[in-house]
C-alpha cells in the first residue's frame, strides 16, 4: 500500500471509529447492573471505585478463535510483549507480567514458579465473559494483583434442553481452529462442555534485513518464519446444579495442552536448522457452593491445580507444581445500605522443579483472612473498605487494605455522571523460582509492595436508545522492593528498585440505533509515564521510561450492523518502546484489522459466516526486538448455533 493510501486508510479508520471501544455496549452496561444485584460477592460489588471493563460481546465474537493476546492487543490499551504466537506477556500500566492476577473461579492461574501466564495459551473460546480491572486489587485478589487483574468468567444460564455451538476457522500460513460447546440441562442441572483445537504452522513471510548478503546489498529480503509452530488444545467441563432459588453448586474442570516451538529471532531464522520446544499441560478445577437465599449469604469453594512444563522434550527439565485451594466467605446485609463480608482462603503448594533442592522446599502453605465492608451512607454514594492479611510459611507477607468510593448523580434525565476514587495497597509474594531456584534463589527476598491511587469521572448520556459514554481516569502507583534477577557474582533475584507509574486513561464509547441499523464504537487512549525512582545501583536511576512500556497507546473500534450483516474495524496505535536501558527504542506502529460477518437465523438456530483481514496495512513491526511478526493475514470462519433450549 502506498503512503498516501495508508494515510487515507488512517483517516478513514479514525473517522469511522471516532467513538470507540473498550467499555461495554449499552446492553452490557445494563447487564452489569443486573449482575450486581444477583452476584452479591462479585469483585464489582466490593470495588465500586475501581476501573473494571468488560470485553464487549461483539469483540469476544470477533476473537473467538484467538486468545487473550489478541483480545488485549486489539481492543484494550494494555501492552503485550511477545512474538508471533509462542510467548506473550502482559504489562498493565507499565508493571511486570507477574503483576497481573488472572482469575478463573477461585483460582489465580498464574504459574507459582514463574509468576505469570503466557497470554497466547488462554483461549477466548472457553469463556463467556472477560473482565479487565486496571490498577491494584490485592485486597480482593491477593498476591500479584498490582498492575491489573483479569477475570475469566462463565455464564450460568441453567440451560433447559440442548444447545450446540461449533466454529471452524482457517487463517493464512497454516492457522486452523476448531471449537465446540455443548450445553445440556433441564433448568436445574446443567452440563457445559467446551473444547477446542488450535494449530498454527506460522510460516508467515516477513522482510528480513539480517540476511547473508547484507554486506553487498543491505536491502531486506523476503524471508519465511521457521520454528514458530503452535499447537494448543483444551477442554472445559462444567457441572452446575441449582439446588434452590439462590442456592447453587457449580464446578469447572479445565484441562489445557499447549505446545510451541521457541521462535528463532530474525538473524537466526536465516540459518535455521532446529529450535527448542516448550510443552505445557495444565489442569485447573474449581467447585463452589453458594447460598444467596437469605440475608446471610455464604459461599465455599475448593480447587486443585496442576501445572507441568517440559523443556525441549527433556523429562529431567521438569517444572511442575500442584496446589490445593479452598476458600469460604460469609456476607451479611445487616442494613439496607450496609453489608459485611469476611472469609478465609488456604493454599497448599507442592513444587516439583528440577532446579529446586528438596532441602529448601517440599511444600508451602498460604492462608489469607479478609474482611470487606460495603456502606452506602447517602443515596448513590457507595463506599467499601477491604482488608486482607496473608500468611505464608516462613515468610512475612504484608497487610493489604483498600478504600474505594463511587458517587453517581443524575445531572439531567439523560445524563448520569459518576465520580470514582480509590486507594489501595498491593503486594506480590516472590515466586518459588525467585526464592528456591538452584543456588541462585534468594529466600531472603521481601514481598513487593505497592500503593495505588486513582480517581476519575464517567459521563453517560442516554438519549433514547442511544448512548454515549466518556470516562477519564487518572492514576498513580508505586511499587517498592521490585524484584529483578541481576548478576551479583552469580545471577540472583533481589529486591532491586522502586518503580513509579502514573498516567491518564480516556475512553469514549457510543452506541447508536436506527431501526435496523446500529452503530457501536469506542476509543481508548492511555498516557503512562513509568520510571525507576530508586535502585540499589544508583546509576540505574535515570529519566528513561521502563522497557517495553509505551508512553502512549490508543485504539479504536467500530462495528456497524444492518439487519444480519455486520462489518467491523479496529485500529491500534502502540507508541515507541525502549528495548534496553541504553536508550534504544522500537518504533511506534499502527495495526488495523477489519472484517465482515453475516448471521443467517433459522428458528432459534443460526449460522454465522465471518471473514477478517488482520494487519490490513501489512505493517512491518515488532513487539519484541528482533522477533518477526506476521504481515497481512486472512481469516474465515463458519459457526453454527443449534439451539434446542426452552426460553
Amino acid at each position: 500500500m502506498s503512503l498516501s493510501m495508508r494515510h487515507l486508510y488512517y483517516l478513514f479508520c479514525l473517522f469511522i471509529t471516532f467513538p470507540l471501544i473498550a467499555g461495554e455496549s449499552d446492553f452490557v452496561i445494563d447487564s452489569v447492573f443486573l449482575e450486581e444485584v444477583t452476584t452479591y460477592s462479585s469483585y464489582r460489588r466490593f470495588q465500586p471505585g475501581a476501573k473494571i471493563d468488560r470485553i464487549p460481546a461483539a469483540q469476544m465474537q470477533i476473537a473467538q478463535s484467538g486468545n487473550l493476546e489478541e483480545v488485549f492487543s486489539r481492543f484494550t490499551p494494555v501492552y503485550i510483549k511477545g512474538n508471533a504466537g509462542g510467548l506473550s506477556t502482559i504489562r498493565f500500566r507499565g508493571t511486570a507480567p507477574d503483576h497481573t492476577a488472572i482469575n478463573f473461579g477461585g483460582i489465580n492461574i498464574n504459574s507459582h514458579t514463574l509468576g505469570h501466564s503466557n497470554m497466547t495459551k488462554i483461549p477466548v473460546f472457553l469463556f463467556d465473559r472477560i473482565d479487565v480491572q486496571y490498577g491494584s486489587s490485592s485486597a480482593i485478589n491477593g498476591s500479584g494483583a498490582i498492575g491489573g487483574a483479569i477475570y475469566l468468567e462463565q455464564n450460568h444460564t441453567w440451560t433447559k434442553g440442548v444447545r450446540n455451538y461449533r466454529i471452524y476457522s482457517n487463517g493464512s500460513y497454516g492457522e486452523h481452529f476448531y471449537g465446540e460447546k455443548l450445553y445440556l440441562g433441564n433448568g436445574v442441572w446443567e452440563s457445559v462442555t467446551k473444547f477446542y483445537n488450535y494449530e498454527n504452522r506460522n510460516r508467515f513471510s516477513f522482510k528480513n534485513p539480517y540476511h547473508n548478503n547484507r554486506f553487498t546489498d543491505p536491502t531486506p529480503i523476503k524471508d519465511r518464519q521457521n520454528g514458530a509452530e503452535v499447537h494448543n488444545r483444551g477442554v472445559l467441563q462444567q457441572f452446575n446444579y441449582l439446588l434452590a432459588p439462590g442456592e447453587t453448586l457449580k464446578s469447572s474442570f479445565w484441562y489445557e495442552e499447549s505446545w510451541h516451538q521457541v521462535q528463532p529471532n530474525m538473524p537466526s531464522n536465516i540459518t535455521y536448522e532446529s529450535t527448542a520446544e516448550l510443552d505445557n499441560k495444565n489442569f485447573r478445577s474449581w467447585v463452589e457452593y453458594e447460598n444467596n437465599s437469605s440475608e446471610i449469604q455464604y459461599k465455599a469453594g475448593a480447587g486443585y491445580v496442576r501445572d507441568r512444563q517440559i523443556y525441549n522434550n527433556i523429562n529431567d527439565q521438569l517444572v511442575a507444581t500442584e496446589r490445593l485451594v479452598t476458600d469460604a466467605l460469609v456476607s451479611y446485609s445487616y442494613a439496607p445500605n450496609q453489608e459485611l463480608r469476611f472469609g478465609g482462603r488456604y493454599k497448599y503448594i507442592v513444587p516439583d522443579v528440577h532446579a529446586y533442592s528438596r532441602d529448601n522446599i517440599r511444600y508451602e502453605q498460604r492462608a489469607h483472612l479478609f474482611l470487606s465492608w460495603f456502606y452506602e451512607p447517602i443515596k448513590n454514594l457507595k463506599t467499601t473498605i477491604n482488608l486482607r492479611q496473608p500468611y505464608v510459611t516462613g515468610f512475612n507477607a504484608p497487610f493489604a487494605p483498600s478504600f474505594m468510593a463511587e458517587y453517581a448523580m443524575n445531572t439531567s434525565e439523560a445524563l448520569r455522571t459518576t465520580f470514582n476514587s480509590g486507594v489501595s495497597r498491593s503486594y506480590r509474594i516472590p515466586t518459588l523460582n525467585d526464592r528456591f531456584w538452584g543456588t541462585q534463589g534468594n529466600p531472603n527476598l521481601k514481598s513487593e509492595v505497592g500503593i495505588n491511587i486513582e480517581g476519575g469521572v464517567t459521563m453517560l448520556y442516554q438519549p433514547g436508545a442511544d448512548y454515549y459514554r466518556l470516562r477519564v481516569n487518572a492514576f498513580y502507583m508505586d511499587v517498592d522492593n521490585w524484584i529483578e534477577w541481576r548478576n551479583f557474582g552469580q545471577w540472583e533475584a533481589r529486591n532491586i528498585q522502586k518503580v513509579q507509574s502514573k498516567g491518564m486513561e480516556i475512553q469514549l464509547h457510543a452506541g447508536i440505533e436506527m431501526q435496523s441499523f446500529s452503530l457501536e464504537g469506542g476509543l481508548n487512549y492511555t498516557y503512562n509515564p513509568v520510571k525507576r525512582i530508586k535502585d540499589i545501583t544508583a546509576s540505574h536511576v535515570n529519566d528513561q521510561q521502563l522497557m517495553y512500556s509505551p508512553l502512549h497507546m490508543g485504539n479504536s473500534f467500530l462495528q456497524m450492523k444492518w439487519r444480519e450483516f455486520s462489518c467491523f474495524a479496529d485500529l491500534g496505535y502502540t507508541g515507541e518502546r525502549y528495548y534496553d536501558n541504553d536508550g534504544n527504542t522500537l518504533p511506534s506502529h499502527v495495526m488495523a484489522n477489519s472484517g465482515l460477518s453475516y448471521r443467517l437465523p433459522f428458528n432459534q438456530h443460526s449460522l454465522i459466516l465471518m471473514a477478517q483481514v488482520k494487519n490490513l496495512l501489512n505493517e512491518d513491526y515488532q513487539n519484541e526486538r528482533y522477533y518477526a511478526m506476521p504481515g497481512r493475514t486472512y481469516h474465515i470462519s463458519i459457526s453454527f448455533d443449534l439451539n434446542f433450549t426452552q426460553l
Binding site: Y210, E273, I314, F488, G489, H540, R625
Partner: protein
Amino acid sequence: MKRIANIFTVLLAAGLFFSACTSDDDNKFERDETTFGCYIVNYGSFGNLGASITRYDYKADTVTNGYFERQNNGFELLSNIQYANVYNGSIYMMGNERDEVITTNLLFQQTENGISEGIAKPRFFVGNGDYIYVSCWGSNPDWGDMVDTYIAKIDTRTNEVVEKIDLPGGPEGLAIANGHLYAALNFRKQVAVIDLNDYESITYIETPGVTSYFIKDASNNLYVTLLSSFTQDVEDTGMGYINTATKTLEEVYSLDGISSSYGSVISPNNDFSTIYVIAASWVEVEGKWEQQGGVFSFDVASKSYSPFISNLSGMGGVMVNPDTDEIYLLTSSSTSESGKLNVYNEDGTFIKDIQVGRSPAWAFFMK
C-alpha cells in the same frame, strides 16, 4: 590536451590510492596503531542480541563503543558473542543464536558470511597451525549429559568445518599443549584430552568439580577452574593444576564460590606470578548474608589465595593488560544496560571505570 592528460593522471593515481587503501583495509592482517588496543567482547542479551565490541585504546585513552558497527557501515552483530580472540591475522567470534563463527580482519571488518555449516552453539576456540578448534554444544542441548556436544575443526584457509569430533559433556574452554587438545567439560567432572594426531584417542582426567576454562603457564602446564554444579555432586571447587606431560591433575587449590559465569573468570598476570580468579563470597549486610562478587589473587609461588577486590556485583570477566599490568574487571548488573570496564592497579587500587557494551565477558589485546 596535456592538461586533460594531467587531470586524468591525477584521477588515476587517486583512484589507485583509494582502491589500495580499501584493499589493505579489507585484508588487514598486520597489527599497527590502527589495530592497537584492548577489545572488550560484550555478549549482549541471549536471544535479544545487543552484542557489541568496545575498543579501548589505553595509550590514547580513547574508547569506542559499538566498534563492530562502526567498522561495518552500521551493521550490527547478529549473534550473542560467547567468546572472541585474534588468531593468525584474523579475529574469530563465537556467535550464538544465530549460531556461527564470525571472522573479520584485524579492523573488525566482516566481508563474508560467518561459518554456520557444522557450527551449533559455539563456545570457545583455540588455534593450531591452519586450524582452529571450536567447542560446540549442538543444536538442542539436553542440559544434562550433553550427549550431542562436539569439537568442530575449521580450516582457516577455507573457513570450512573439516572435522567434527564428538565430545559429550559440554566442552567449554580449550587449550593445546604437547600435541593434545584439552577440553574443559562443563557438565562433567572431567577434562577431555584429545590427541591431535588421532581424534578418536580421547582420554579423560577426573576432577573434583565440573570445569570451565584453562590458562597455560610457561611450562605448558594448565590451570583449570573447578566449579560447583546443579547436576553433579561436586567434591571440591577452585583451581586444578594439570601436568600436561603426564596428563594428570596434580593439585587442587580449593576456593569456594568460584564463578560459573561464561567469561574470563581466570587470568594470569604477565610473568605468571599471580592468577586472578572471580569468586563470590557471602558477606553480612545489615544482619543478612548476601552473596557478593570479588576477585581473588592466587600467588603461584606460595599457592595461596588472598582477596584482591571485594564487594563488586555483576562481574563477567577479569583480564590483565600485558603492557601496563593493570587489572581490568568487566562488570554488568543486568543484560539490558551497559556494563563497565573497571581498571585497577596491581595493588588493587581503583583507577577508573569506562562504560562498555551490554554483558561484557571477555577482552583481548592487540599490541
